[in-house]
Symmetry: C2
Subunit: 277 residues, 2 copies
């Protein structure tokens, strides 16, 4: 598979792990922010882009979703789920009891809060741009330092793992989506993402619209609302359903939704990822 696939770098991030899982043979190209990752595919620098869309603890990555609603013309072509396991790293000559600073992405620090307050109660927490760049920050630190990062980043950057799986809540998973000019072909086990809003605030209008799905037994997997960015209390709805937009029943249901909506957009149909255990 000779495609070029953009991801949120540097190498060793969970995004890179998702990119490798999704397309092992692709050329993986690192960008420094989610907008830059998306723009690279929008402008054809790469064939596809992989971005985080949902985490089992934090919920929707609103930043990604808002780009898909308001800016990008890309379609969702695939999805992949990555298990998030954080490790504590330290320099080989650093004793854990001496550590005074812990570097990581703020979300990773938040997800290891219990562990840190138990094991390193006096260490200061300092934000890094990514879990992978935390390793560099640790190495450059003037004080005895540790970093929180993935096993993959530790391996790639040849860092020393002190303890694995230090996250407070197990079952921490992130779902990533692959974006491309066209969405996925029908496989028989698909998921379709749509977004829409209404021009007026009629009572029951959302319920009636969901009836277009329910009356045809099209199963809704997820419903989310995002601000429409024009006024407080008005929303764009994002819905994921089982099935492909080329399935006859899904096609009819989506036509029914579109007829009731003001803005309506199919974000893509794509093969469903297997759930992780």
């Amino acid at each position: 598979m000779g495609i070029r696939l953009a991801y949120l770098g540097p190498p060793g991030t969970y995004s890179e792990e998702a990119a490798v899982d999704y397309a092992p043979e692709a050329a993986h190209v690192a960008y420094s922010s989610i907008p830059a990752v998306v723009r690279s595919a929008d402008e054809g620098e790469v064939d596809e882009a992989i971005v985080p869309i949902e985490n089992s603890l934090e919920g929707t990555v609103t930043f990604t979703v808002d780009l898909l609603i308001h800016q990008s013309k890309l379609k969702i072509k695939g999805e992949v789920v990555v298990a998030i396991h954080h490790c504590l790293l330290a320099q080989p000559d650093t004793r854990i009891e001496d550590v005074r600073v812990v570097y990581s992405h703020p979300q990773a620090i938040a997800q290891c809060r219990s562990y840190l307050s138990r094991q390193l109660p006096d260490a200061e927490h300092v934000a890094s741009l990514s879990t992978a760049s935390a390793i560099e920050d640790m190495r450059k630190s003037r004080h005895p330092a540790a970093a929180i990062s993935s096993r993959r980043a530790a391996d790639i950057l040849d860092a020393n793992i002190v303890e694995s799986n230090i996250e407070d809540v197990s079952n921490n998973q992130t779902r990533f989506v692959a974006l491309a000019a066209k969405d996925g072909r029908r496989t028989g086990y698909d998921r379709t993402s749509i977004c829409f809003d209404f021009s007026e605030d009629a009572p029951g209008i959302l319920y009636d619209t969901l009836g277009e799905l329910a009356s045809r037994s099209v199963n809704m997997i997820k419903i989310e609302s995002r601000p429409d960015r024009r006024s407080l209390g008005r929303y764009v709805f994002l819905i994921d359903v089982e099935g492909h937009r080329d399935d006859a029943v899904v096609r009819d249901a989506l036509a029914g939704v579109e007829a009731r909506a003001s803005m309506f957009k199919i974000l893509g149909s794509y093969p469903r990822a297997e759930a992780l255990e």
Copy 2:
């Protein structure tokens, strides 16, 4: 009104503005984080706590909502909407063309990105803990500096406003809720917030549950999903409806929702805030 009202400080934040709007006569008590604000009311240090719950651009403040779902026993007793207008501040002896650093809360910096890239293209952006503390950071800066903050913070801290309303998108508003041991009394113009989940993933179960509202013409103002924190793809739903839980029709509808749900919680009934223009 001799109550003690906790808010996310320091004085001059938009949270303080909400606290003053909501209860001008209260003793306003600053805390340094949203969890600390909520805890102060949970533990009875204060009578009520005011926290941001939704912004017209960023959407739900998931942090607040997750505290209400999973941790706090407090009820929503009231709401207030604050218009967000950012100002550019500088020291009186600083020329704008010399500014090399701009301090503010990352969200405020993000909301003024176009202005900054137009007016201060070469300045570095540095994160402060709040828009109010950005003023202190500016004053301590070794380089010519500016800050982004509210007019209120500038007034309180006697700082010099260079330009007002520098936000990229007008109509930036934040809705705050007041939390207390008991929710609000029926006024005839109320809003009720609930959350619930389902023990199984039956097709159509959410649609059927929303039917408990729609069949009684109880109008849904907002629907939101949050991860249930146990597994990816399972959600807690948050719904706001028009009316008070003591209105007969709302009471019946909520009983219908509760009967279909696994977990069910009324977060509170409270008088609706007037929309801002």
